[in-house]
Structure formats: structure tokens, C-alpha cells
């Protein structure tokens, strides 16, 4: 066990998988000579050379399509979007080509590719550079969607994503890149589709992913001082959704709060709530609550930006609501 940053964990995962499998290569803007716009690919060019660490022009639609073609021809591309905001340029290739070709070809043409990069709000970069796109991708059959929180998640999930024979959308978070936590030694992989329980408590289930897990844990600490103990579930994988872990928790707590950084309309929170209501209606002692971004583009002004994103206080308030305390 060693304490490393999320950034290092991601780099280690890529390096280990590239050493193990020659089909794996990294492609994207500034990934090679610049060492990554966020320094995630630091040192990879030196180890693997220009044939496998490939700087692209600024051409998201084009290089996403090219990487998809390489995957269809049997390689294992890791495709970095400098941020997922720019993946919107490549959406047609991701949805219509990567996600659907296996089905349309009757199982002949698979697309083992990872699209990775920071997703969600950064700090003070305004609306076009700050959005959580998890629900966009999670909507589509044929894609897996992963969102790590800790360094261990980052390494273990990225290794599994690279090994997965399907297209995987791997949603990192810029603010978490520098966060440090323990990562098990050796060839450590976490299975896709399994959530983690970050904190155990019997009063309420709080489901979150990515940086919202940190906010949920902060809220849980302050709630504990009020005598409310929260189960905090880190989804890790958004699709396929681990409803079993969520339902198991709700069966003990009877109460559910879902936290997402994105907008609530047709969001991940809605999906989790629907799954729990459909499969565990009798387990619930209160209507589920969602905590999400304000239903507006993200503002630049510091005070408005802070108001727009879910804060620990918002989560704590939602928990008190579902626990019928503080009324």
C-alpha cells in the first residue's frame, strides 16, 4: 500500500497496461511532449516512444473516429480528451460508431477503447468548460461509464477499463487529480460495475460519484455530530449501475439521497431513484431526494459558482429532509 495522487495512479495504470499489452496506446492532445495538459501522462513518452504515445492535432471528432477505427481493427486505444467538454465535438463517433457497431454487425466488430479525461466543473472556467456529462453517456446502450473518486479507484478502474472489450467512458475530475490516497501494491484492478461503500451508517444512504463522494463524506461527518449516521456509496461505475449494493444499503436505512454534480433533469440521480423505487419501494421510509447542480449553465462569478454546485450543506439538508429531522 502506498499513498499516491489520482494523477499518478492514472499514469501508473496506463503504464502497467501498456507494458502488459502491446495493443494499448495513448492518443490525444498534448499527451506526449507536453506530458499531458494536466500532466497525467507524465513520463509515458520517454518510456513508450512516439509510436505509442501520440500527440494529435486539435481535432476531437477526427481523432475519436480514428481511434475507434483502430479499436475495431484490434488495437486498444486510450483516447484522452483534454476535458470531456471537448468530447461533445466527437459525440457522433462515440455514440453512433463506438457504442453501436458491435450490435449492428451482429457481434463481429467490437470496439475496445477507453475515452478518458477530466469531466465536471473545474474552478472558475465558466459554462462551456464546466459540466458533468455522465448522464449523456450513461444513456447509451453499448457504453460503460466509469467515474473514479480515490487514487485506488483511479488505478483499479482504469486498468479494468483498458482490459474491457467494450467502449468505456472514463470520467476523471480535474480537482481530484492532486488528491492523495492509498493504492494497493501490485497488479491492482477493480471490477467495473461494482460500487464501493466509503462509510457505513444505518440512518440514511447517500449515493454519489466522483468528487461528490468527497462532498458526501464531508456532509456525513457533520451529520454524525447531529446523531445521523450515513452510508456513503461511491458508485465507481455509473453504467452498469450496481443497484444491488444500493438496495442492500437502503434495506438497512430506508432513506436515500443521491448526489450528482450534473443537472438533475434526466440525470443519474433520477436513474438511481427510479431503480430503487422500482425494485425497493417497500424499503423506503421517505421519498428519495436528489442533490444536483443548479438548473442553469455554470456561472463564472465565484459566489454564483459556489451556489450552483452541490455543497456539503446542501447534502446535509437533503439528508435531514429524508430523515424528517430539523423540521
Amino acid at each position: 500500500m502506498a499513498a499516491v495522487t489520482v494523477r499518478q495512479a492514472l499514469r501508473d495504470a496506463m503504464a502497467e497496461e501498456m507494458r502488459a499489452d502491446e495493443r494499448v496506446f495513448l492518443i490525444g492532445e498534448e499527451v506526449a511532449e507536453y506530458q499531458g495538459a494536466y500532466k497525467v501522462s507524465q513520463g509515458l513518452l520517454e518510456e513508450f516512444g512516439t509510436a505509442r504515445i501520440i500527440d494529435t492535432p486539435i481535432t476531437e471528432h477526427g481523432f475519436a473516429g480514428l481511434a475507434i477505427g483502430a479499436a475495431m481493427a484490434g488495437l486498444r486505444p486510450i483516447t484522452e480528451f483534454m476535458t470531456f467538454n471537448f468530447a461533445l465535438q466527437a459525440m457522433d463517433q462515440i455514440i453512433n460508431s463506438a457504442a453501436k457497431t458491435l450490435y449492428m454487425s451482429g457481434g463481429q466488430v467490437s470496439c475496445p477503447i477507453v475515452f478518458r479525461g477530466p469531466n465536471g466543473a473545474a474552478a472558475r472556467v465558466a459554462a462551456q468548460h464546466s459540466q458533468d456529462l455522465a448522464s449523456w453517456f450513461a444513456h447509451v446502450p453499448g457504453l460503460k461509464v466509469v467515474a473514479p473518486f480515490s487514487a485506488g479507484d483511479a488505478k483499479g478502474l482504469l486498468k479494468s477499463a483498458i482490459r474491457d472489450p467494450n467502449p468505456v467512458i472514463f470520467l476523471e475530475n480535474e480537482i481530484l487529480y492532486g488528491a492523495t490516497s492509498d493504492v494497493p501494491d501490485g497488479d491492482f484492478a477493480l471490477p467495473l460495475g461494482e460500487a464501493g461503500v466509503e462509510r457505513s451508517g444505518g440512518d440514511v444512504t447517500v449515493v454519489a460519484y466522483s468528487i461528490m463522494v468527497a462532498k458526501a463524506l464531508e456532509a456525513a461527518s457533520s451529520l454524525a455530530r447531529e446523531g445521523i449516521e450515513a452510508d456513503v456509496i461511491n458508485l465507481r461505475t455509473i453504467r452498469p449501475l450496481d443497484t444491488r449494493t444500493i438496495l442492500e444499503s437502503v434495506s438497512r436505512t430506508g432513506r436515500l439521497v443521491i448526489v450528482e454534480e450534473g443537472w438533475s433533469f434526466a440525470g443519474i440521480g433520477a436513474e438511481v431513484a427510479a431503480a430503487v423505487i422500482a425494485e425497493g419501494f417497500d424499503l423506503l421510509d421517505a421519498p428519495p431526494r436528489r442533490v444536483s447542480a443548479a438548473d442553469a449553465p455554470l456561472p463564472y462569478a465565484a459566489n454564483l459558482e459556489a451556489m450552483a454546485l452541490p455543497r456539503p450543506d446542501d447534502i446535509a439538508a437533503a439528508v435531514r429532509d429524508v430523515c424528517y429531522t430539523g423540521l
Partner: protein, 329 residues
Amino acid sequence: MVSPASADPGLLTGFYRNMLLVRRFEEKVGQMYGMGLIGGFCHLYIGQEAVVVGMNAAIRADDAVITSYRCHAHALVRGVTPKAVMAELTGRSGGISKGKGGSMHIFDTAHGFYGGHGIVGAQVPIGAGVAFAQKYRNTDNVTLVFFGEGAANQGQVYETFNMASLWKLPCVFVVENNRYAMGTAVGRIKAGTGIFRRGEAFGIPGIEVDGMDVETVHEASKDVVARVRGGGGPVLVEMLTYRYRGHSMSDPVKYRTRTEVQKVREEQDAIDQVRARLVERGVADDAELRRIDRDVKEQVAEAAEFAQQSPEPDPGELMTDVLVASGDG
């Protein structure tokens, strides 16, 4: 003109047979569509046969081909059986994609055929990616990336030109200019000069080829493929061709005159040209040509029969092939 193909009579006869197969196949598709046996969008290749037949003869079995939704012919000349293509069109389990792709999504990677793509232009970066994989593996394979003159206005085509040239990818970009992007004549949507020159700014040489003459197509393609296979980087080939039918089966073709179509058929038809040459050069007599016609007709009839007899996909197929099961990869 004495074409080198005349030195290889078998080749010219093969061209004739393959072009005829494509035409008779597509004519049958048109009939079956009219009978309600084929649904959805369906784009016929009639008129353009010389392009795929001539180009396919210039590449090897282990090379790759990718195209748009007008894909039946490309699959057939790569060696996919007419039965497997036709049953895909009728949406049956015997189809090459188990009936789950339909007319626009024929794939057969065993024959190096990567589809069959429905979004105009999307196959261009994907094809460059297949070429990227060929180069990554240090093979000397090439990929033919087909697209229409309509797709030549999509931005991703130029994003791809840039990368393909920068990285000297082994791809031949082939514009099948059939003069109409759906219902819009090419002159109404194309700024500048010939499409074949649109790679120049990226350092991609281009040539314009009479796409109605299969021998010309073949000769030009051999040179281009040799250059690309030798590591010279991508080349852009504009094939001047013509489709006789509508853009798709639902196109009433109000945007051009019957006279225009008739003129091309009479003066430039790819199959008629080769038939005349076969006789003229003494390669095949009428009896031989009739035998080929009969064989092809039989082959197509068998495919049509198979495509109607093949059962619909099992209901269980609805939820298969959404994801590859972990461990299968």
C-alpha cells in the same frame, strides 16, 4: 487504346462477372424492396459498379475496405456471399450481421470489410484508424476508404486528411462522385475546383479517374495502391461515376431528367463497355457471355430465395451483442 488488362483476359472476364453480379443483385434488391420484403433505407449501387470492382482487383485479400451506407456492392466484391448480404437486407438470421444491421450496415471483418456506416462521412476517420492499426502492426496492408462527393463536405473528412498525411497512414481515400448528394447536384454544393484537389493543402496528392471504365479504374488504382503500400502516405482518388437510381428507394428523382440518365446509360455504361471489349478482343463469345449472365442470375435468385426462407432472428437476439461479455475480449 490497348489496355494492359487485355493481356489478362481472365481479369476482364472477372470484371464483367463481378459488375454483373452487383447490378443483378441490386436490381433484385429493388424488386424485393417494392414487394415489401426489404424495409427502411436502401441505397442501390447501380451505375457505379466499375469503381468497386476495379479497385478491389487492385488490393489484396488481407487489405481493408470501409464505406458508407451504399455498401452492398463493396461487401459482395470483397467476397461476402450474396446470400449473406441479401438475408441481411430482409432482416433474417442468415444475414451477415444476423439481421441486426440491415442494408446500411453490412460488415465482414473476415473479408477485411469494416462496413457499412450510416452517418455521412463518419467512416472516413474510422477507415484512417484501420489504416493506423495496419501501420502500428508494421504490416504493408492498405485501407480503401470510400465516401461520396456529399460526404466530401463534412469537417471530419479534413480532420482525417490532416492526421493521415501527418502520420503517413496507408489509406486510399476514394470519392465516389456520382454527381448527386442525395438530391443536390454536386455543382450546387462544391466550392472550388475538383474534389480530388482537396487534399493538396494537406500534402495529399489527388487524381481524377473515369469511374465508368473498369480497366481505367483498375490501372489507376494499382498505381495508387502501390504508392500507398510502399509507405508514401495517403492518396485521394476521385472516381467520376453515376448512379442510375435514386439516392435511396424512397427518392422520386425529380432533380434530374430522364434524358440525362439515359445518355449516361447509352454512352458510358460500365458493363456494356466491358461486354463490347470482351467480344471485340475475342476474349468471350456470345455463348460465353450468356453463360456468365445465366450463372449470375442463378446466384442472385438463390440469394433472394435464401433471404426469404431464412428465419427471422430469434427473439433472444434483441439483447445480444450490446456489449462483449467480459472475458471474451
